[in-house]
Amino acid sequence: MLEIKDICFERDHKKILDHINLVLDEEKFYVITGPNGSGKSTLAKIIMGITKPDSGQILLNGEDITSLSVDERAKKGIGFAFQQPVRFKGLTVYDLLKISVNKEISKKEACSILAKVGLCAREYVDREVNASLSGGELKRIEIATVMARNPKVAIFDEPEAGIDLWSFQNLTEVFKDLEELNKGITLVISHQERILEIADEIILLEKGKIKQIGEKEEMFKLLFEEPKCCRKEGGCCERDR
């Protein structure tokens, strides 16, 4: 269980996260959604330890991990797929996967990890994680490095960002598998309906606050049906006035 208690984060006199409280359970697939600037990525980074909150606590299975560094949290079982996958000159996909699983693995084992994210592994395992790979390929490798660790909490920050629609359609299959297989907590930040459809619970963030949490059916009504007027040219929502 991951508990987020009263997390606040402010920058330049703007409240990015304003008293966030959440409890996330094992074997559940959560999607955090909301407009740009609502604080989604900041919250994900705070859970991983990349960003330090101004106040509040994070508890993993009852243990306070708020003061732990990124690598200490990784060792406790938190994994994070970056929105912009990082490139490395000289490091191969195989090198990165070995670091992910923290042991020597054969190329065959590395290939089977890559196969889970739909990459034809033999072509990729010896390639460098650099600009020669496309955005979609880098994204899959990024996801593979997180899945390979079998984390208790797997966080994916906007997996759809920066890739083409065709690659994204394939990627949704990866998340469907993850939803079925992952025993831990999966937390995905996404705007995409296809990802939201997989969710057990959807968390809507707005202006740094949790606006609503609910199961898919009720949240879809809120997200996709209610603000119909917005779709009309020049129109706006009642509730936005």
Partner: protein
Amino acid sequence: MNETDKNLLKEISEETSKAPDAYNIRKNGKSVDRKTNPFIDIVPKEDNKGIDVYVKENTLLGIVHIPVILTESGLKDVVYNDFHIGKNSNVIILAGCGVHNDEHKDTEHDGIHRFYLEENAKVKYVEKHYGEGNGKKILNPVTEIFMKKGSNMTMDTTQIKGVDDTLRETKAVLEENTTLVINEKILTNETQNAKTVFEVELNGKNASTHVTSRSVATENSSQEFVSNIVGNAECYAHVECDAIIKDKGLVKAIPEIYAKNPDANLIHEAAIGKIAGEQLMKLMSLGLSEKEAEDVIIRGFLK
């Protein structure tokens, strides 16, 4: 040969698919062992000032190993090695210098290597430099390359550890349809100094060169990279200088390209900076400490 010698040789050697066809081992200014074969001859110069390596025309897949080791403190060894690579031949030349200096006197090795590639000759030249012990170790390698029509050369040069002061100069003159690829890797630490200078003249049509330098300067060390590529014909050149700086390390890059022919196509890139924060963060999110993450990034960068 004692354990120190064997260790120095190991540090500067490269694994190859087969044993060398010819070799010359030089220790403290003298040849101590030599082997030749009917295709590759090694002839010592007068006064033990170096060797001439002759590779016959049409020699295929020859491997030549010419390591130099210095274990005598205070020695200044200057050596001239000339390589005459016959037409259509294809050889791998492994050179390197290992210095062990435990005393306060400076030990210095200045190796001047000249390559004469005849038409369509192909050479892969691998050079490693390594130093150990507390005394000062100075290496000043000079490489001069003369490439006739259709020849091809790759030069991999590495200096990873223990050299206190180095000035590395590489000069090349390329005729038509030639290709020269240079990959340089340097890591300096403590108060070491390294300067590398590349001067390449592209004189023939379709001459091309690709020079890549990857370097890491840590602690209080400093490095300077100078390249000067001149395009005198319809030719192509790409120079990349990529450096990571750490602690108080300093790197200066001066890439110069000069097109003297309207059809010359010359590119240079130079980038110097710290290890990117997001690279560290990514590896830390996979469970590595900051120090471990830095090591992985640097090792990969210089691989």
